[in-house]
């Protein structure tokens, strides 16, 4: 049960990553691999600042800003110099690897004895439920602090989702969605699509960096390798969400991305528990996304064949 709660908590943290990927991939149709760098960038900024004694909330907020800068760089390279989106992302991602090493000063920064967001949640739990309290949850005894941590993560992700939902229905947010949908049309309506793309990719990477900074604080370290495979991971979450929720209204799609992220993390946890080799994780994730991308096309074809017969 503790394992389950831990998985859901990580799933919620990675839901921020899924939201970021949702913005770049689904809203802008921009295959943005900057994610792999900005995820680590967020983690390294937060970790270094926390070690330097900065307030964890400020450190996390600055991680978000850092991610936005990374995303803006990708957007700028793409729109200003007409470099293809994937290559723009690869350039920034590669550059960020060195930047991350500089920010952290080494390849791994431990946060075990530091004040992080999650030690705050623990303190809160100790004050409310008493130190090392145990809660009985449908027959299982679970540490109260794990439950409180889960609740806080849930609150943060709900707040972020609502914020995005609100934003994408404002005048400027709607113009962003239209940029991804039909840039010719929205340019004819007086919107500078280049600025929209830069801002959108920045927003996306802000959320991804936020996710990275929170994961680093949760697991107690930031590592220069932690961003590898994160783009596909986020994409898998978004795809699962879309499969679960067939409706494509904005609110449902955002909710789908969050639910997909939690579910995907749970699936992975279960598979690992059943003895899957952790080294195979990325291989299987990639395979999963491949199948999810190919399957709809194949299903359409078989349907057609059936109809013909």
């Amino acid at each position: 049960m503790t394992l389950l709660i831990g998985s859901i908590t990580i799933g919620l943290i990675l839901a921020l990553l899924a939201l970021g990927i949702f913005i770049s991939f689904r809203i802008f149709d921009f295959p943005d691999i900057t994610a792999e760098g900005s995820f680590t960038f967020g983690a390294s900024i937060a970790a270094s600042l926390i070690v330097a004694g900065i307030n964890p909330v400020a450190a996390t907020a600055l991680a978000f800003v850092g991610g936005m800068l990374a995303g803006a760089a990708t957007g700028f390279i793409h729109t200003r110099f007409k470099i293809n989106p994937l290559l723009s992302g690869i350039l920034v991602m590669t550059a960020l690897y060195s930047v991350n090493l500089h920010v952290m000063g080494k390849s791994n920064v431990p946060l075990l004895s530091q004040n992080t967001l999650f030690t705050w949640f623990e303190d809160f739990s100790n004050n409310i439920s008493g130190k090392d309290a145990v809660v009985n949850l449908i027959g299982w005894s679970v540490p109260a602090r794990d439950l409180w941590t889960l609740c806080f993560c849930l609150l943060i992700i709900i707040a972020c989702s609502l914020l995005l939902f609100w934003f994408f229905r404002t005048n400027i947010g709607t113009a962003m969605r239209a940029t991804g949908d039909n840039d010719q049309m929205i340019r004819a309506l007086g919107v500078n699509t280049k600025v929209m793309i830069i801002a959108g990719v920045a927003l996306s990477n802000g959320f991804i960096a936020l996710s990275g900074s929170m994961l680093a604080q949760f697991q107690g370290f930031a590592d220069v390798q932690m961003g590898i495979g994160m783009m596909v991971w986020g994409l898998a979450s978004v795809i699962i969400g879309e499969a679960l929720i067939s409706e494509n209204s904005l609110g449902m799609v955002i909710a789908g991305a969050v639910i997909g992220a939690v579910l995907f993390r749970l699936l992975v946890a279960i598979a690992l528990r059943w003895g899957m080799n952790p080294n195979d994780l990325k291989l299987i994730t990639a395979g999963f996304v491949f199948i999810a991308l190919v399957l709809p096309g194949i299903m359409k074809k078989t349907k057609k064949i059936k109809l013909i017969q």
Partner: protein, 270 residues
């Protein structure tokens, strides 16, 4: 008043595929005038429209719209003055977004877009009234994605969108070419209504000589990147489809003569 002077545009300059799409095009259109642009394929009629819209920056010449020099302005800045409907019915609307959202986007053409909600109660009401005038029963479906509508419906909505905020200039780029004849007729009817009601200055590219004869107060005929004929006033009113057809034939014949002369010269001197 739209004033084009000595516009030039060459695509793929210096390559085998070099196209002189616009050559010394000068044209001035008075306020409230409705101009139909005719031309053979590749005559530069769509290029002319795109040059005014800002899809590309011209090589030479100036474009002045109501006293504003827009020659070097990017497309999105010109949108404040210009409303547009495209040839492809899917180009003018964002398919995944709702009818309401698409229209609301157009209600802010060329204006500052802030953090206010896009679909407020007031704008929804205004929207409903406007859509009702189309008589397509769309006013009850404002929530559904615009991509589910037919090409004709989408083109009608695009027309509504392009003229929501009164544009100084309305550009119509063969906007009925992709529709079936019946729908095209309806869209043309709507076009006429919107243009006359708003007294809009309009530049319409068309492939249909019938449309050019029936609509507007001026016909311009382009060929090989140049304006070859310009009829207005009484002369335009007297124009019939047959007259236009014979003019086209004449242009083609001249072409052939040009080519034959070139061949002859080649045989003589090369």
């Amino acid at each position: 008043m739209l004033e084009l002077s000595n516009l030039y545009k060459t695509f793929n300059a210096g390559t085998i595929n070099e196209v002189n799409a616009l050559q010394d095009v000068s044209l001035s259109i008075e306020d409230g005038s409705f101009v139909c642009v005719l031309g053979t394929n590749g005559s530069g009629k769509s290029t002319l429209l795109n040059a005014v819209a800002g899809t590309f920056i011209t090589d030479n010449g100036t474009i002045i719209l109501n006293g504003v020099n827009i020659t070097r302005q990017p497309e999105y800045k010109r949108a404040r003055l210009i409303g547009r409907v495209f040839q492809n019915p899917f180009s003018g609307t964002a398919a995944a977004m709702s009818i309401g959202e698409n229209l609301a986007l157009a209600a802010k053409r060329g204006r500052k877009r802030g953090l206010g909600q896009v679909l407020t109660a007031t704008i929804l009401n205004e929207l409903k009234e406007k859509v009702k005038t189309l008589n397509m029963g769309l006013e009850d479906r404002l929530e559904s994605p615009i991509g589910k509508l037919s090409g004709g419906q989408r083109q009608a909505l695009t027309l509504l969108m392009s003229s929501w905020l009164r544009p100084d200039l309305l550009l119509l780029d063969e906007h009925t070419a992709a529709l079936d004849p019946k729908t095209a007729g309806k869209v043309i009817e709507l076009t006429e209504k919107i243009v006359t009601e708003g007294k809009l200055t309009t530049l319409m590219v068309t492939h249909s000589m019938q449309q050019a004869v029936n609509l507007g107060d001026r016909i311009i005929m382009m060929h090989q990147g140049r304006i070859r004929y310009d009829f207005r006033g009484e002369e335009k009113k007297r124009m019939k489809v047959a007259d236009l057809l014979s003019l086209f034939d004449e242009l083609r014949r001249k072409d052939q003569i040009d080519n034959r002369v070139a061949e002859l010269l080649e045989l003589e001197y090369v």
